[in-house]
């Protein structure tokens, strides 16, 4: 809606803007300004920066511990932990795996749960709507902001891991799960692929967080609920009695990125994951829409 409306806004062209021919064509009323403002606000905010820093600290912690300890017993601890001393590139991969069950959902829960409820909590929601931001447009911009954080979060882990790994350990060709050996450059791109996989994995959770955020004026409530759901989904995924339910859980494919470490790359779980997440986006996006469009803003 936002983009089509933007076109119509451009078409009608307010009197003020059409009278101002000297300004650049980009200086027109448009939804992109609001999105830009949202992203700027999100990533300039101390809390967001702290979350990303905390995520980046995971690989640093792992690398330092491995560096100062004498020997890592093979086969224990997180996957690939014992390989780090031979090749620093494994720091990033190990950290990405460690971050999946809790750290990433935690940070996404904070950001997605804050989207609408945070504005309501500050009282700024009423001023955004009176601006007028438009309810659907606000919801879309907020979700895109959460998605941007879903991109940034795994990326912070991967890049910090690559950096600290290269700094503390030797870097060389990497043996994939299929036994093929690839150059460090190719290995790095595989790691970014895993980060992208995790971004996709978190889109459904973000939509859930957005919906929960429309239900309350207390952001902490929406954040906690989102995080609890992410844990609950993973617990349910462990119970064999609920096997029929597993393919429908949004966390079902969270660890399914091993195929990205084979030659050739297997895209099956990537596409199943993407489809599942799209389903969650559709359902919870619709719920958020239904709730928010008719909501009385009394905060």
């Amino acid at each position: 809606m936002s983009l089509s409306d933007e076109v119509s806004a451009r078409g009608s062209g307010t009197a003020a803007s059409s009278g101002r021919e000297g300004s650049a064509p980009r200086q027109r009323p448009s939804s992109w300004w609001f999105l830009g403002s949202e992203l700027k606000q999100l990533f300039r905010r101390r809390r967001t920066q702290a979350l990303l820093l905390a995520l980046a600290a995971i690989p640093v912690m792992i690398a330092v511990v491995v560096r100062v300890s004498t020997a890592v017993p093979p086969g224990r601890g997180p996957a690939f932990l014992d390989r780090i001393t031979q090749n620093g590139l494994f720091v990033g991969v190990t950290a990405l795996i460690v971050a999946v069950p809790l750290f990433l959902p935690l940070t996404i829960g904070v950001v997605a749960g804050d989207t609408i409820a945070g504005e309501a909590g500050h009282g700024t929601l009423r001023y955004l709507l009176a601006a007028p931001a438009g309810r659907v447009r606000l919801l879309l911009v907020k979700y895109v902001g959460a998605v941007a954080f879903c991109v940034a979060a795994p990326l912070a882990v991967a890049l910090a891991g690559a950096g600290i790994g290269a700094a503390l350990f030797p870097v060389g060709p990497v043996t994939l799960l299929s036994g093929d050996v690839v150059e460090p450059g190719e290995a790095l791109s595989r790691m970014l692929l895993i980060a992208a996989y995790q971004t996709v994995s978190l889109l459904g959770l973000s939509a859930i967080g957005l919906f929960l955020s429309t239900l309350t004026d207390v952001p902490v409530g929406a954040m906690a609920a989102t995080i609890v759901l992410s844990v609950a989904s993973q617990v349910l995924d462990q119970l064999p009695q609920l096997e029929w339910l597993h393919p429908w859980l949004f966390s079902h494919y969270w660890f399914g990125f091993a195929d990205l470490l084979r030659q050739p790359i297997g895209w099956e779980s990537f596409s199943s994951n993407a489809l599942l997440q799209a389903g969650y986006i559709a359902v919870f996006g619709a719920l958020a829409y239904g709730r928010f469009v008719s909501k009385d803003v009394l905060s």
Binding site: S23, A130, A133
Partner: protein
């Protein structure tokens, strides 16, 4: 339902507007008519439904029943076209504490899809200048005082050129200087042709800046109209100081009054009496001639007799009669009912006024 130019002349018009929260009827079928170009005071005790009404006007809350028209357009149906022309301060200012004052205004302006980005910087600076906050533009709002936040809230309402300003308690938290500044700001906005709708529970404030007013009580609109009419609707009081109480009372009774004689201190008696109503009263609730120039209210009353009495009871005529009868008039005053009297008469006394 006056025929002439209804709708076109109204900046805000509500019809049977109601809002129910659970069992409580917060706003009960109100018919507001705010003429364009007026400075309209929206009065009422705390909890009388003022803010809820404003929320419905701005499309923040849905009406349980009734309708709202802003600047001649339906709300919330035409929200996207109407609101860019409306500046609002709703239930106190609210900002992102971690952003500077200027950054907050940039943010809200970016949210308005009709705001021109090219002029944003200049408009923000101008709005800050107008409320005297230029020096604190780069300061984080967290460090603002309540008064500064209030000013910033008003600056936000002034970011674009507005046809209508809806200001909910604009002087809340301001010191006397700040209050004066807001008053002169409201006047200058009105002089620019904007309609200003000010909600307040401060009567003095409304009395000083408004041309029209409406009074809410417990969710109902109990009176509205031009300020002068609202004031006059209260009966005027005559106050006479004289040593000749008996003779004076006799004269006043001839004028159809019921004088009350008192001796507060000293020898002189103080006589007070309600002056007979001398002009058309304001009909409570739903007086549909907000323009006030039609004079439909007139000295209608129950026939022409009242009008005749009113004519005879002009203050100067009373004084002349008193003097003619040898009453030594040492003090004479006609005290018009203040808006406060009217307000208290309509909404009740004390803290238990509305629940």
């Amino acid at each position: 339902m006056t025929s002439a130019g209804r709708g076109a002349g109204l900046a805000i018009e509500t019809t049977g507007l109601s809002k129910r929260f659970g069992h409580q009827l917060a706003v009960n079928s109100i018919d507001l008519a705010v003429p364009r170009g007026s400075v309209f005071g929206f009065l009422g005790p705390n909890g009388s439904g003022k803010t809820t009404t404003i929320r419905m006007m701005l499309g923040l809350a849905a009406a349980t029943a009734g309708s709202v028209r802003l600047l001649g357009q339906d709300m919330p149906g035409k929200l996207d076209e109407v609101l860019p022309q409306v500046g609002a301060l709703v239930e106190g200012p609210a900002f992102y504490p971690f952003l500077s004052g200027a950054a907050n205004l940039h943010r809200f302006d970016a949210a308005n899809r009709h705001a021109v980005p090219g002029t944003r910087r200049a408009r923000v600076a101008e709005a800050l200048e107008r409320v005297g906050l230029s020096h604190a533009a780069r300061k984080k709002v967290r460090a603002y005082s309540l008064g500064m936040k209030q000013r910033l809230g008003i600056a936000n309402a002034l970011l674009s050129r507005r046809e209508l300003l809806i200001l909910d308690e604009p002087t809340n938290g301001l010191d006397p200087q700040g209050t004066r500044e807001v008053r002169s700001l409201v006047r200058s906005l009105a002089a620019d042709g904007a309609t200003v709708f000010v909600s307040s529970h401060l009567l003095a404030e409304v009395e000083q800046i408004c041309t029209h007013a409406a009074i809410m009580s417990a969710g109902r609109l109990v009176a509205q109209g031009p300020l002068a009419e609202l004031r006059q609707a209260g009966t005027a009081q005559l106050r006479l100081i004289t040593p000749d109480a008996g003779a004076a009372s006799g004269v006043l009774v001839r004028f159809g009054m019921t004088p009350v004689v008192g001796h507060p201190n000293g020898a002189d008696a103080v006589i007070t009496s309600a002056l007979p109503v001398s002009s058309g009263t304001l009909s409570p609730s739903g007086s549909r001639n907000p323009g006030g120039d039609t004079g439909t209210g007139g000295p209608g009353g129950p026939g022409g007799r009242d009008a005749a009495v009113a004519l005879e009871a002009a203050p100067e005529a009373i004084v002349a009669a008193l003097v003619a009868d040898g009453v030594r008039v040492r003090g004479f005053a006609v005290e018009r009912g203040s808006l406060e009297d009217r307000f208290v008469a309509l909404t009740g006394e004390g803290f238990d006024v509305a629940q």
